[in-house]
């Protein structure tokens, strides 16, 4: 029964996501079939729950069976109709990734063994998350607690009862977007019961989405073997593996950041107007969906991606691109404004379960030492703190003229903003000193950092093949 409920819920949201990606992509196909499915599987739950959220806060529905199915089915029908009219129900054009190349036997065997090792860790983690009770604070105080509360009350309540007539204020954990908890509520609603293993198992979908998107993004530049090595590198990061196989929200955010970064990369790499238009729309929509994940998804990652895109990606030189920017911006605002309005109406904050608007600023040397300790004495990111700057230096000036440089700029800017916030905002300093919140933001951009590192490294050590696109026979 749990498996059936899981398949039904994920099936609905994946279809919704697949349709959205197809409609936004439009007539000019820029994503491979696999990418469209991976993006759909990742973005679908967020957008689906956003539709449920909108209908609920409008007073049209409750958070019950009908309240979950009707909005999503309506979106599916509308998108399906648009896709049918567009001719994007079937993906007519196939993007051919880099063909298999011949590698030395030892390399093939070695990477194969690493992939097997990776698979072992992932299977073990998946077994663990669906077999054990909810253990972590943020799970039973925030993500799972809110999901269960929505399921029991069938309402989007913001205050959580804490006992003795006291409630946890809405400005605390309820300031985070509700899309993730709503997805858990959806699963429980289809199942008819709150089951921990079911509500925690959804996190494996986002992990699978993250790894698929990374692999397929790398496949645009590299053959299957080297692309697999990139996935291995990401899963080998201890905190990525731990978070991916535990019910926390940061891999959920990371998957959305990676999709937006992948769209920016696609936009940077093409000069064809129609393709640029497709990528532009995909970029704006993915950033808009990213803003619905967590507060830092909006304040830090989405903002920096927007700035990076405007400076390095988006152009207004052709009519197609101008139209795409207008449409993309429109969709971005259609996603963002309702959520911002809701936050404003209910006085919800933008910080890490606390307000940052009245935070005082002062340099905190202890935070600098804590960050140094985190990067140099703890293997949370294995050797990535050394590998990333080293590869960027070694790649040299040549790399910074490549399209991929925009992603490197985004990653470095994001890290700088995060470290700056911890170092100068007094109320956030404790999160760094106690090593609690410090790793979350880094985790959310770790996949993009690995992507940048992989591209910079392999482009330096081996010549980079050109991406080929073939027109399939109609």
């Amino acid at each position: 029964m749990n498996l059936l409920a899981f398949i039904i819920s994920i099936g609905i949201t994946t279809v919704l996501g697949w349709l959205i990606v197809g409609v936004v992509q439009g007539a000019t196909t820029v994503l491979s079939r696999g990418e469209r499915l991976a993006w759909g599987m990742t973005l679908g739950p967020t957008v689906g729950m956003f539709a449920v959220f909108l209908c609920h806060i409008s007073g049209i529905t409750r958070l019950n069976f009908t309240g979950f199915l009707v909005p999503q089915c309506a979106v599916i029908i509308i998108l399906g109709a648009i896709a049918w009219k567009q001719g994007t129900l079937r993906q007519a054009r196939t993007i051919t990734a880099i063909a298999r190349e011949s590698h030395p036997r030892w390399m093939t065997l070695g990477i194969g063994l690493l992939c097997a090792w990776t698979a072992l860790k992932l299977v073990a983690g998946a077994y663990d998350i669906i077999s054990v009770p909810t253990y972590w604070d943020d799970s039973f105080n925030n993500w799972n607690m809110r999901g269960k509360m929505f399921f029991v009350t069938q309402e989007l309540r913001l205050e959580i009862p804490a006992g003795n007539g006291v409630t946890i204020a809405a400005q605390s954990v309820s300031s985070y977007p509700p899309m993730l908890p709503l997805m858990k509520t959806f699963l429980a609603t289809i199942r008819g019961q709150w089951i921990d293993s079911l509500s925690n198992g959804i996190h494996l979908v986002w992990l699978a989405g993250l790894l698929s998107v990374l692999y397929l993004t790398l496949r645009r530049s590299f053959d299957p073997l080297l692309s697999s090595l990139g996935v291995y590198a990401l899963v080998s990061l201890p905190l990525v593996l731990i978070h991916g196989t535990n019910p926390y929200a940061d891999i959920f955010v990371a998957a959305h950041v990676l999709i937006a970064a992948s769209a920016l990369l696609g936009l940077r790499r093409t000069q064809q107007k129609n393709e640029r238009a497709s990528w532009t729309r995909l970029l704006f929509v993915s950033i808009g969906v990213l803003a619905l994940t967590k507060n830092e998804g909006l304040l830090i990652h989405a903002s920096l991606l927007l700035i990076t895109s405007v400076i390095f990606g988006v152009r207004l030189t052709s009519t197609e691109e101008r139209k795409a920017v207008i449409v993309g911006l429109g969709m971005f605002l259609a996603l963002l404004l309702p959520w911002l309005s809701f936050k404003w109406m209910h006085g919800l904050t933008f910080g890490n379960a606390s307000s940052v608007s009245n935070a005082s600023l002062a340099f905190n040397a202890t935070v600098v030492r804590a960050i140094w300790f985190h990067l140099s004495r703890e293997p949370n990111w294995l050797l990535l703190p050394l590998a990333l700057p080293l590869t960027l230096v070694v790649a040299g000036k040549k790399f910074w003229r490549l399209p991929e440089a925009a992603l490197a700029i985004f990653v470095l800017a994001d890290i700088a903003v995060q470290f700056g916030l911890f170092t100068f905002v007094q109320s956030l300093a404790t999160e760094a000193i106690n090593q609690t919140g410090l790793s979350r933001g880094l985790l959310q951009i770790a996949p993009v950092a690995v992507l940048v590192c992989a591209i910079a490294l392999w482009s330096t050590l081996a010549p980079q093949p050109q991406l080929k696109a073939q027109q399939a026979q109609p």
């Binding site: 663990d128 054990v132 509360m149 029991v152 905190l239 949370n380 050797l383 050394l386 050590l461």
Partner: protein, 383 residues
């Protein structure tokens, strides 16, 4: 000369030139059994000593007491094991002072012992106060402490042993703990058996970070590759490929270490909880809490709120709230009739049927609806 040959020559030269003491392991045992005492001991302060068959019974009064002997400068151990026996939980310390210091200061390594016999391992490696030189060493007893001292073994490791312990401690895993979702300590380097067996006992770990050591070695090797490569006019691509291979190789070793730690956590969950029998299973540091919560939930399902007492508020209060929602735990015992008690040996129901805390009644009379274990039960006030 090719780099591989140069490296081999360097290793052999180092091995040959190392002093003989690098290969000599020294252990000195200080025994306290009847007829086995092999050094002179002096009691200082408020201490009495009584010879027993297998050790010396030490007893302190209302002041501290010390038992001391002189350790020559020729022997500089870096770790040791003290075997003691106690009839009650006690604390004591290993103590030393440098005899050549103008005003000798007493330095200590504290221990806690429970009832019974125990081997307390300790490391002196890296302690700046533990210097080469003649010293007095011994045992320090706090006031009103009684302890049977059986044996002290002091060990001086050679370089090969130190390297062995360092390499093997790299593969000692930490447990999954509440902080593991935020950061991991990673490998810690212990240079002797005592350090290796206590790597994660004290948090944050006091030993050398394996991550930092790895970074230092890596950066040094990268620098060597670059300098040597430039000297030999090696093509840039070749130097970069060597550095790339070094990075990839180190990354893989590091991943095997951290991936192994992750798998050990899953294996631990599997053996102690997932595959264990219902009556025996324990979940991480929460023991049988989740089974207790499942046991208690039906009793409060029809209540809006209930009184909840646990051995600690965190993490049990928040966790219980989630598990029994919409029934909310609290301490409103004036209005809530159901009490859920988890691991509170100080709480019991008296003969009059009242809930008590340390014997003091805190509720009207009621009945125990269900008992999970000796200290965990469900109580309801009879209306």
């Amino acid at each position: 000369m090719r780099p591989a040959r140069l490296l081999s020559f360097a290793i052999i030269a180092l091995a040959v030139c190392l002093p003989h003491s690098s290969y000599a392991m020294t252990t000195r045992a200080l025994d306290f059994a009847r007829g086995q005492i092999n050094v002179d001991w002096t009691g200082q302060g408020d201490i009495s000593m009584q010879q027993a068959n297998d050790g010396v019974l030490l007893r302190s009064g209302n002041g501290t007491g010390m038992l001391l002997t002189t350790l020559g400068a020729d022997f500089h151990p870096e770790s040791g094991v003290i075997r003691v026996a106690s009839e009650a939980p006690q604390s004591f310390s290993f103590l030393w002072t440098m005899m050549n210091d103008a005003s000798p200061t007493a330095f200590t390594v504290p221990f806690e012992v429970m009832t019974g016999e125990a081997d307390k391992a300790f490391s002196l490696h890296g302690k700046p106060e533990w210097r080469v030189g003649q010293k007095k060493i011994g045992i320090l007893l706090p006031p009103w402490t009684t302890l049977m001292l059986k044996n002290i073994e002091l060990r001086q490791n050679n370089r090969i042993e130190q390297l062995f312990y360092a390499l093997s401690s790299f593969w000692i895993f930490d447990e999954l703990r509440p902080y593991s979702i935020n950061f991991v300590w990673g490998p810690q380097i212990g240079w002797n058996a005592a350090e290796r067996s206590h790597l994660y006992d004290v948090l944050p770990p006091v030993y050398q970070s394996g991550t930092l050591l790895m970074y230092q070695v890596l950066i040094a090797l990268i620098a060597v590759f670059i300098i040597y490569g430039r000297w030999r006019r090696t093509p840039r691509t070749t130097i970069l490929q060597r550095i790339g291979i070094l990075l990839v190789g180190t990354w893989i070793i590091f991943d095997l270490r951290m991936g192994g730690e992750f798998l050990s956590w899953v294996w631990h969950d599997h053996t102690t909880y997932i595959a264990a029998s219902h009556s025996d299973r324990q979940f991480r540091d929460r023991d049988a809490f989740y089974d207790f919560a499942a046991f208690a939930a039906p009793f409060v399902a029809d209540r809006e709120s209930y009184v909840f007492f646990a051995e600690y508020p965190w993490p049990y209060l928040g966790n219980m709230r989630y598990l029994t929602y919409p029934s909310i735990p609290g301490i409103d015992y004036m209005n809530d009739d159901t009490w859920v008690i988890y691991r509170r040996p100080d709480m019991a129901v008296n003969a009059a049927g009242q809930m008590t805390i340390d014997g003091e009644p805190v509720s009207p009379a009621g009945t125990v609806l269900g008992r999970f274990d000796d200290d965990s039960f469900i109580f309801r006030v009879t209306k």
